[in-house]
Amino acid sequence: MSDYFLIAFQTLVTQPVLLLLIAAGVTGGLVIGSIPGLTATMALALLVPLSFSMNFNAAIALLMGVYCGAISGSLVGSIVLNIPGTPSSAATCLDGYPMAKKGELSRALGIGVYASMIGGVFSGLALILIAPTLSKFALNFGPWEYFTIVIFTFMTVASLSEGDTIKAVAVAMMGVCLSMIGYSDGAGTSRFTFGVSDFSGGISVLPALIGAFALPQLVMDTDRIGENINRIDDKFEITSFMRTFVEILSIKWAIFRSSIIGIAIGILPGVGPGLSNILSYTQARNSSKTPELFGKGELPEAIASPEAANNASMGGALIPMLTLGIPGDAATLILMSALMLHSVEPGPLLFVTNRDDIAFIFVSFFVSFAFCTVIYHIIIKHIIKALTVPTQYITSIIFVLCVIGSYVLNNRMFDVYTLLVFGIIGYALRIGKYPILPLILGLILGPMAEEQFRLAMEYGRGSYFPFITRPISATIIALTFISLASPIVRNFRNKRTRKKLF
């Protein structure tokens, strides 16, 4: 594998266009990620259709740059405006904004940026060490294991989703039902087409994904138009910003611990950087000798811990996506769509048949973080200015880009209508407090579930017993029941605690 890394690195270095694409992706990602309401998911969703005409290396270089930039950029909104650029920096607001308000804007930004970069490097190392090992293990998987792991993914996402588990599972099942629209290889016929020929090809995942995530977010963002934003007016100083690197080294164990939390959370399907950000902040406060100083902008670890964790979860989220074809969060879901668009199927065989592509992904990940660190120093002043762009311009421009992105995929209006319909469904789900991620997971994993079940029945000659008698499959089924039981147990404990208090 090390030979492939060298070849991938050589490819990057000898083709300056690829380096330029990474730089462009990082710059775009930093700007988009810092603007509140524009998430990393949206940044990726806008660019994936445009990467269709690029070759694999160019597309990965651009998308990795955007992925790293957008997650890293979200801390600027948290510190300057007290509004996180993406959910992955929600906990950064708690100490980042108070520190900036005290006249230490450059220090707050520096702590966040350097901690993010270190977290990202740790997650890259975890990706390189864990992913190949996990893929070797996954080569033992048969269709029984793949089917049960899809069900496990749905249940884990549902139990870890914000709010209601039943609603999350219902939406995931709805996604699976919608994925069955169109021609089925196993059935040898078209299904659920309502007599409309356009449905024969099924629902395009990318426009559905863009619509379901982007349109509801943009509609909600219009609420902030005309709001008085508590913008920090403190001047940014590059020397104070760079001096914080020494301060970061004094809290290296807090950053290391947060990175481990981030990697572990990132591996769990459907969770992502948002939870790792909050969990690591809570953990840092609980293990601090001065927890009363958290929330006051006094302690560097209160900013460094959540930022290290959210970047560390990026590499963690790539592990199940690359090795099993199960996306770790919404952003990796889009990256997975990009890979499939370029005829690269994520899964354990990827590490056997496409070692050069895997090595390129890993190398691009590291190079993106290196570029992120450098580019941050150059453009951070301008990013702070970009936060003043009125929201009414941003929302409408983003929607136009979404429509164009959907149209250029196949040059047909059906995909644009898919974007609109799923956008309206996504908005309805937000209003009704249903989570959106399970819907898209169901749409993507539904065909895999059906195909693997069919193969399991064929190989098992119609018997269901192999699902329980095969040890890996049985273990996954047991884990599924545990993940389903955990919110019930949690609710029961909360009710008992409430009863004791009253």
């Binding site: 099942m173 919608l178 219009t222 609420d223 136009v400 309206i424 098992g460």
Partner: protein
């Protein structure tokens, strides 16, 4: 608002019901396996989805204790915020007119009108919105047609 949530849950269930009604019309290929019926997975997932939506309906709208402790979601006031309605309506009209009016005309109109009506509504802002719309639309057109060598719909007078 209870009605809004009822409407949303009902609409989602209706989508599944409309798929379920299509089940008898599916004619599977003659050479299906003796070990596997292709209708198993569709029937199973549709049944699970409908059962879960039925549980949600019973729990959210009929079980009084649940409603008391968990509230009723967003209010009507949240739903009909003017800016949200403007943006959503404009976006729907934009998509419907996208192929008929062509990319340039529809996008220019959408960007100008949406930014103007969502903003303060001053005449000066109309000019700014139009200027931004021209810049963005022309940039996208150049990038997509020349950079990506793809196509965008044009305004066809006779087709409209």
């Amino acid at each position: 608002m209870k009605t809004i949530n009822l409407l949303i849950t009902g609409s989602l269930a209706l989508i599944i019901i409309s798929l379920a009604l299509q089940l008898p019309d599916i004619k599977y290929a003659a050479s299906t396996s003796q070990h596997y019926s292709p209708s198993v997975i569709p029937i199973a997932f549709i049944a699970i989805a409908l059962t879960l939506f039925a549980i949600i309906f019973i729990r959210d709208f009929l079980v009084r204790d649940w409603i008391k402790t968990n509230g009723s979601g967003q209010s009507v006031a949240d739903l009909i915020r003017i800016r949200r309605l403007i943006f959503l309506t404009a976006s729907v009209v934009y998509v419907l007119c996208f192929s008929k009016l062509g990319f340039l005309v529809s996008s220019l109109t959408y960007l100008t009108a949406t930014a103007f009506f969502l903003g303060s509504g001053h005449r000066k802002e109309l000019l700014i919105s139009f200027g931004i719309a021209v810049t963005v639309t022309s940039t996208i057109y150049v990038v997509v047609t020349l950079g990506l060598e793809s196509f965008l719909p044009n305004f066809i007078v006779t087709g409209f």
